[in-house]
């Protein structure tokens, strides 16, 4: 554990997860707008990214959720840098915790939509969901492991 911050592994791990999430969400955003041009179906009906990324639940208030996911990950990137992790101010820590917590209901809603509404699973979406949950876990544990109290 560094003197003022979380364990040393937390900032690079969370930053890496945020960047990876942004990359995959970026791909899905592209896929959302161009999937109709890839004129193939996946070999199985259960795994179907085009179906998921063009379904009704793929939009939220007229905005593609893939794009919202991309913006969310991009907003998280600066919060996951070592500098802000080591900051003793409570603002960044609270914001980081709130932002990653916000991802959890979004993940639950989207997984529910895939399995119960769209009836198809998009593997890339699943990667994003896993990253969002890992990010939440890493941030929560990172804050808990700080020598001083977290954002509390």
């Amino acid at each position: 554990v560094s003197p003022d911050g979380p364990p040393r592994w937390v900032p690079p791990l969370t930053l890496g997860l945020a960047l990876a999430g942004a990359a995959v969400a970026g791909y899905l955003t592209t896929e959302h707008f161009t999937s109709s041009r890839t004129l193939v179906c996946p070999g199985t009906g259960a795994v179907n990214c085009a179906k998921v990324t063009t379904s009704a639940p793929s939009m939220f208030l007229g905005v593609p959720v893939a794009l919202l996911g991309l913006l969310w990950f991009l907003a998280l990137v600066p919060l996951m840098t070592g500098r802000l992790w080591r900051s003793l101010r409570r603002g960044p820590a609270r914001l980081r915790l709130a932002a990653t917590l916000l991802g959890i209901p979004a993940v639950l809603y989207l997984v529910h939509a895939e399995l119960f509404t769209v009836h198809a699973v998009c593997l890339w979406c699943t990667v994003v969901h896993v990253i969002a949950v890992l990010l939440f876990a890493a941030v929560v544990l990172g804050e808990a492991l700080r020598p001083s109290a977290g954002p509390g």
């Binding site: 109709s36 179906c41 929560v140 808990a144 020598p147």
Partner: protein, 304 residues
């Protein structure tokens, strides 16, 4: 104990107490954090488990039922006048065939055309139209089904034929059509239909993969192998062209050859016809020598 030592002892004990309190606070935070993460994982796990295991075989919402294709529809698309096909030419379509370098596929002593798709798949729905039109010039279809793509996929309810249960008789080539799944929902997938034979699976897995198709399209459907010399991955045109029409309307348009959908279907049919002529050695001559086939044969891809 001298006062200095006593004070030192007090400071040491106070530091120990602070450290102990810090450890306890950290442990409490860890328990809270761990519980939060565990709660999320449990909720997610239950959601996924219920979603994947609830065996609810149901029809897709409004999915078209599959049945025999109406005779008038089959007749319309299998007797497209050569003059219409010639007038359409490539129909403005891109070359969707790619060259294969595998051993020649034959069955019953004739070149084999293998089609792998599924009824739920909208791109398969689009691709069957040109396949039916093209092969009708080399033989006779029987038992063609009529169906639609899934109601809950992209390009929902695209009208089309089904090769499930269909057969094709020709002195020039053999056709095997495999529809792996229906358009009826079963859980998160669709009801199974046909099963690939080991040889069909080998062909599908070998030639529907890099370097023949991009990695992103590997294993996708529809996939057509024309005698081991040419392959088609996906549909040669956008299924959106068929949106809002019935099977009968599309068949009528195909016979007339004037609408954008008909031009896309017939253009792709002409390209497939050219590839089939290449593998049958130009037989039958009246088909393979008639416009626009010779010109499109020159446009066929070659193995680099």
């Amino acid at each position: 104990m001298p006062p200095a030592k006593r004070s030192e002892e007090r400071a040491r004990k106070a530091a120990e107490l602070r450290a102990q309190q810090a450890r306890q606070a950290r442990n409490r935070r860890l328990v809270v954090a761990g519980s939060a993460v565990a709660a999320v994982l449990v909720v997610l796990g239950v959601l996924v488990a219920v979603g994947l295991t609830r065996g609810t075989p149901t029809s897709g919402p409004g999915a078209g039922t599959s049945g025999p294709a109406p005779a008038a529809v089959v007749s319309a698309v299998t007797t497209v006048p050569p003059s219409v096909l010639a007038a359409v030419g490539a129909g403005g379509t891109r070359q969707s065939l790619f060259a294969l370098d595998g051993r020649p596929l034959r069955s019953g002593g004739k070149p084999l055309v293998l089609y792998v798709g599924a009824e739920y798949c909208p791109f398969c729905a689009a691709e069957r139209w040109p396949v039916v039109v093209a092969l009708s010039r080399f033989g006779t279809w029987s038992g063609l089904g009529a169906t639609t793509s899934a109601a809950d996929d992209v390009y929902p309810n695209t009208p089309t034929f089904s090769f499930h249960g269909a057969s094709f008789a020709s002195p020039y080539l053999t056709f095997e059509g495999v529809e792996t799944q229906s358009n009826k929902r079963r859980g998160t997938g669709y009801e199974p239909l046909d099963t690939l034979t080991p040889e069909q699976r080998r062909i599908f897995e070998t030639y529907n993969a890099p370097p023949y198709v991009p990695a992103s399209a590997a294993g996708s459907i529809p996939f057509t192998d024309l005698a081991g010399r040419y392959g088609v991955s996906g549909s040669g045109y956008d299924p959106a062209l068929l949106t809002g029409r019935t099977l009968e309307q599309i068949a009528e348009e195909v016979r007339a050859g004037t609408s954008p959908a008909a031009r896309a279907i017939l253009g792709n049919a002409n390209r497939i016809t050219a590839a089939v002529c290449a593998v049958t050695g130009g037989r039958p001559a009246d088909v393979c020598a008639g416009a626009p086939v010779p010109a499109l044969m020159k446009d066929l891809p070659r193995v680099p």
